[in-house]
């Protein structure tokens, strides 16, 4: 329905990659046996007190600087009070009125290639809760507090997105960014990066926002897209049939592909936020902020712009190659070793290499095919030792055997034939063997040119230099 406009805001929770928890010395590593990483502070024992992990603050500031946000000189931790078994203290320590980061933004690239700025209202630090376990515990609830107290940064966007695709593009952008900054491992299966989506619809042209529903805990890009699309359709259908959207929290069921009501606004908790008297306000001076700024890496947008400028790549290719820091680094390492043709390098990294990695579910940093080795292959294409087509064969051998390009070319005798007399000899033989086709060609059947190319290639084992072959063949055929 084109008469409706979708309005989306995301709250992204990124788990910070600190070694210890935000308010205790417990380790944060994933996958330990239940409660093995929960000390007395995490368990909320009587008398214990929180002590802020400075590293978490540094990481939040790093994020703030990367999204051009204001870093608060004075921010405050507050208690969000509610009862839940996996919330040991009966409150979550978070930031409420005075977050550490406010008023930033990011740019996303839309499908038509245009760019759109998405506002970021705030980013604040908070502790994660634990997990309730039900599996294998009939009639009981188990509680694992390993995750309790893990530092999170919650990144709250403005309601600036107008489609599920935009929401996914934004979420991917944030995902890329936090990994560039090395403040979050971005592992969505383990819950290190997840989001809540606030979704509403309104009549096109309307200034007023519609009533929104909040979809909780989406932990994959695909789920975000599907959940939003489902929710938008649900709301439009409701409104068009004369109903009204209720403000509520909903859960996405990936098996059924639908969202379900979790609790209404009336049932919502009154969290009774107030400043946590156990923690001092966080005071950050310019020197600290500047010291964090000095650790900022080249950011994805800066890197992409540089790729366009230095390597002559398209904006699209530059975007793909900078989607992760590892991929960008790999690409640059390839270009450094084989500087002749950066575009060719881009095609190989995004094409054959990406496909091969994908097939085996490997990351670019896996070391399966070091950049220098791929560069070795590209050099042989550039110096015309092999053709692009042969190169694919060489690549496959390199991939499966872990060998160098030159070794494969040598062993299989795949060097391109660039010796004109050798190519001419092959052409002469083919012409002699196919007098009928030759006569037809000369009689005006131009299409037979392709037939002769194929025959000569076959005769040379595919090694004839294609450009040379074309030129020589055209000359000989025309007599």
């Amino acid at each position: 329905m084109s008469t409706w406009e979708t309005v989306i805001g995301l709250e992204i929770h990124a788990q910070l990659a600190t070694r210890s928890k935000i308010f205790s010395g417990s380790a944060t590593a994933y996958g330990a046996p239940p409660n093995a990483q929960a000390n007395l502070v995490d368990l909320g024992y009587p008398g214990v007190l929180p002590v802020l992990n400075r590293e978490a603050v540094r990481m939040a500031v790093k994020l703030g600087l990367a999204i051009d946000a204001q870093i608060a000189a004075h921010s405050v931790f507050a208690r969000k009070n509610y009862f839940y078994p996996d919330l040991p203290k009966g409150y979550q320590i978070s930031q409420y009125e005075l977050p550490v980061v406010a008023k930033g933004s990011l740019e996303i690239v839309l499908e038509d290639g245009s760019r759109k700025r998405i506002g970021i209202t705030r980013a604040h630090l908070e502790e994660d809760a634990g997990k309730s376990l039900h599996e294998g515990l009939p009639g009981l609830t188990g509680i694992d507090l390993n995750r309790a107290g893990t530092p999170l940064v919650e990144i709250v966007s403005e309601p600036d997105m107008r489609s599920a695709k935009e929401a996914v593009a934004y979420m991917k952008k944030v995902h890329t960014l936090v990994r560039y900054l090395e403040i979050c491992d971005g592992n969505m299966q383990e819950g290190s990066f997840r989001c809540d989506a606030n979704v509403s619809v309104r009549r096109a042209g309307s200034e007023k926002f519609g009533t929104r529903a909040e979809i909780k805990n989406l932990n994959s890009f695909r789920f975000v897209e599907r959940a939003i699309n489902y929710e938008v359709a649900r709301q439009i259908e409701l409104l068009e049939s004369g109903g009204a959207v209720v403000q509520e929290t909903r859960l996405y069921d990936p098996d059924k592909g639908e969202t379900r009501s979790m609790r209404s606004k009336e049932e919502a908790n009154d969290y009774r936020y107030f400043p946590d008297p156990d923690l001092l306000p966080v005071e950050l001076d310019t020197a600290f902020i500047e010291s964090v700024r000095a650790t900022l890496p080249e950011l994805p947008d800066q890197k992409a712009a540089r790729f366009v400028k230095h390597y002559g790549l398209s904006a699209y290719d530059a975007g793909v190659l900078t989607a992760s820091r590892e991929l960008g680094d790999y690409y640059e390492a390839v270009v450094e070793a084989a500087p002749q043709d950066p575009k060719l390098a881009a095609n190989w990294v995004m094409g054959d290499l990406a496909a091969a990695l994908n097939k085996e579910n490997l990351e670019v940093g896996s070391g399966r095919l070091p950049a220098a080795r791929l560069a070795g292959l590209l050099k042989r294409i550039s110096d015309q030792t092999i053709s692009g087509k042969i190169a694919k064969e060489v690549f496959e051998a390199m991939w499966s055997q872990g060998s160098e390009a030159d070794a494969v070319i040598e062993a299989k005798g795949l060097q391109q034939i660039t010796d004109s007399s050798a190519i001419e000899r092959a052409i002469d033989e083919v012409m002699a063997r196919n007098p009928g086709q030759l006569a037809d060609y000369r009689g005006g059947k131009d299409k037979l040119f392709g037939f002769f190319v194929g025959q000569v290639m076959k005769a040379t084992g595919g090694k004839a230099n294609p450009a040379q072959l074309n030129e020589l063949l055209r000359r000989k055929l025309s007599g």
Partner: protein, 487 residues
Amino acid sequence: MSEFHKLGLTALAAGLRARKFSSVELTGALLERIEASQQALNAFISVLREPALAQAAAADRELAAGRGGPLAGVPIAHKDLFCTEGVRTTCGSRMLGNFVAPYDATVVAKLKRSGAIVIGKTNMDEFAMGSSNETSYYGPVRNPWDPHLVPGGSSGGSAAAVAARLVPGATATDTGGSIRQPAALCGITGMKPTYGRVSRYGMVAFASSLDQGGTLTASAADAALMLREMAGFDARDSTSVDTPVPDYVAALEEPLKGLRIGLLREFFDKGLDAHNEQRVREALKVFESLGARLEEVSLPHLPLSVPVYYVVAPAECSSNLARYDGVRFGHRCENPRDLNDLYRRSRGEGFGDEVKRRIMTGTYVLSAGYYDAYYIKAQRVRALINADFISAFKSVDVLMGPTTPTPAFALGAKTSDPITMYLNDIYTIGANLAGLPAISVPCGFVQDLPVGLQIVGPHFSEARVLTAAHAFQRATEWHTRIPAAYA
């Protein structure tokens, strides 16, 4: 030697070091006094006879070898909200009736390192909420001066134990007067340091921005020694302050001459019992005779301290006590039907009425729609009260006044009217709201009941406050009086 109890903390520490008697002898004698008094006073929730004697024997070995800290071999008691490893820590509540702390509070660990023997855990108002020690799940504590009267609270057990000379010193905490008020009502010396001077780690929280650990002892000199051993920065408490601890004992003998004393006009108001006032004014004359100068000062916002306190403290307590949910430790109801039933009955059964009243008050003042009107406004007034104190300390060195409006009152006299009970802390709450050090010292008797003089100093002026109190005690003998039944 059966006169141990007449010696204070300082004298006992010196006697032990001089090997005049052993820690085992001393500890054994005090254990006998504790056990003999328990039925009449109910000052202790746990008496740690065997472990205390074992610690005493170990202390004797240290002392024999010429080692041991400043408090080596001296038995003390801890208010039962300081976590003590392997020992039940109840906070005077049924909720923690089965709670054995797995760690030592920083204060407990520091005093252990100083050589002190932990002889027991003292009774207290439930979660330190009360001014009469009548809210304890473990029964009320009685005043050693008259068993029909309350000892004050919430550190009533610690105060009664020191007043009856069952121990030479006990830890205590003060959120709105819980050290100074029972000290006044029991005729002993109660020292509440500056907020942040003593670590709160392991001290079960009532109201985090107000709670401060301190001492109950017979004299200011004993308080100086004990506080010196307890105080100091603790990286595990973000609100503890990283500034060096002066040697309070060494500072005690500094001259008082020229001390400018501010008399708080707001403290000498119509709520103050005339006899109490007389004792306090007599004490002020003693200070004058020691060379101090008196001048009247006014803290205009101070009369608002009780309402401010009863917004801030319940707000923080409602959140601090949310962790007692029957899930990980503490009381859990039988056969909960579901999660809500587990919460409702575990908390309903585990907490007493006063605790529930404050949790409900605190929940209310933090609720949406009321937060600004109550909590925010209270914090603003709190800032004004703090500013009043700071401005008063520009012209005077310390402030003095009564600790309480009246001497000890009868058990049950105020339990039916919480507001009257709350008003008993009217003179003590200001120092908590502003985080100031304050001491109560005995300054005479009204109808055979002790009366307390309160001395309040600027932030981190413990040495000055203790020195003033010590000078007064050198000139008077009120602090040496022992209730007849325990003499």
